[in-house]
Amino acid sequence: MTDKPDLIYLDYAATTPVDPRVVAAMSRLLEMDGDFANPSADHLAGRRSSVHVANAAEQLAALLHVHPDRLIWTSGATESNNLAIIGAARARQHRGQHLITMPTEHKAVTDVFRALERQGFDVTWLLPDECGALDIDALEAAFRDDTQLVSIMHVNNETGLLQDIARIGESCRRRDVLLHVDAAQSVGKLPVDLGQLPVDLASMTAHKMYGPKGIGGLYIADRPGCHIEPLMFGGGQQRRLRPGTLAVHLIAGFGCAAEIAATSLAEDLEHLTTLRDQLWAGIRDVPGIRLNGDIDNSFPGILNASIADIEGESLLLALEPLCVATGSACNSQSQEPSYVLRALGRSDAEAQSAIRFSLGRQTRSEDIVVAVRRYRSAVSKLRDLAPVLAA
């Protein structure tokens, strides 16, 4: 084996490493002499555990500017999305069965809506513009008397594009329609002030903000008409909306990660913006490159670009030791072109050649230098390999 240089991890949008402070907070709760007990138990040990849960809720609530009672712990953003969308659609189906979303949402949203369609709900899929943004007029036009729920993500996981949640939420409020926001890519990385934003339901996850995998959250606004039906049954925990023994160590880890995020958010953003700009400056002149999304209206931790006449799988291998994504991590096993990029109007070939670079706290300027060099050399290697087109 040739000795490969060390891996350069540029897939923070898929998941992040756990912050050492979070690891420390969690490990204390797992051991015999720590607070491992069931927080629902009516004894001293149980009450000690429940303090950690309450603390974590405070920490996450502080990050989001909401009351801790408005948060439900789940296993992650996929569960939160399912619970919010199905739960709200069912709770309001006596009023109407019309729902609105976009085809560029994460699979954990689109597949939920498809399942609801099969169950008889009527879903309007609003197409984005060529950057991925929702046209607010199209949303206004899609509302019907029986519309009950709109679900739009905050930051797109493939392109980093930001949706204008404030305006979308205002439109929904005027119509008394609930707004669910998949905020998996933004909570802990961008300011998300749910105390101010007109959002009714918001999904989030710890592992994309330097917390552990297996824990997520769902925010439910304290407003009349904003309630959901549970998907699972089995106990009185979390107001019966999501029963099951609470994973104290994961919850505490999420809380700790939220507290760290609250203090480092501004600095993180500045760091990511600098690196993203360095990366784009380094590759934007490669012939045939095309940015997917809108760099001026994006979360700076994600940069997605297609490249003309390059085969995506070979590009990914030639980019090693860079760890980058070709599409959403969930569909990287199959070679189907990203449905998100297709919805932006990219051809199959363009979508297949897309590379998503996603940066994080541990990314260094030197990593970007290597990434730029690797990308340029991979593209020129594959172009040299390709047959010269016959005239």
């Binding site: 085969e311 594959l382 390709a386 016959a390």
Partner: protein
């Protein structure tokens, strides 16, 4: 799907394809099918393949397979080309079953090259 989609051999062939490129004054064949583009070049002297080069557009297995073919057939008799089958490469690299169709495109290109070399008096495509 295995954890590691590429064998050590596929990686090595893909990383350093010694036979990539074109050849002047050579017979050639070219196929564009099933999302794969392949071009083969052969210089033949007295029935023996003196030089063999390829150009390819496709996934890593296609590039590795094209390189493996050139490595294997350079120095052999031009008449041997008609014996080539995709299954040799499928097994030796190996290539996942789902990608067999792409390796068949290489087989088509090899057959076509064989015809150019043996079938007609004109060596140029």
């Amino acid at each position: 799907m295995s954890i590691e989609p590429y064998s050590t051999r596929v990686r090595a062939l893909f990383d350093t394809p010694a036979h990539a490129g074109g050849l002047d004054d050579a017979a050639s064949s070219s196929i564009d099918d099933q999302g794969v583009r392949i071009q083969l070049f052969a210089q033949v002297e007295a029935g023996s393949i003196r030089g063999l080069r390829f150009r390819a557009w496709g996934c890593p297995h296609v590039i590795a397979a094209a390189e493996a073919f050139c490595e294997c057939y350079e120095g052999r008799q031009a008449s041997d080309l008609s014996d080539f089958t995709a299954s040799e490469l499928m097994q030796s690299l190996p290539v996942p079953i789902e990608k067999s169709g792409r390796i068949l495109v290489i087989e088509d290109a090899v057959r076509s090259l064989g015809k150019v070399l043996c079938g007609t008096s004109e060596p140029h495509d």
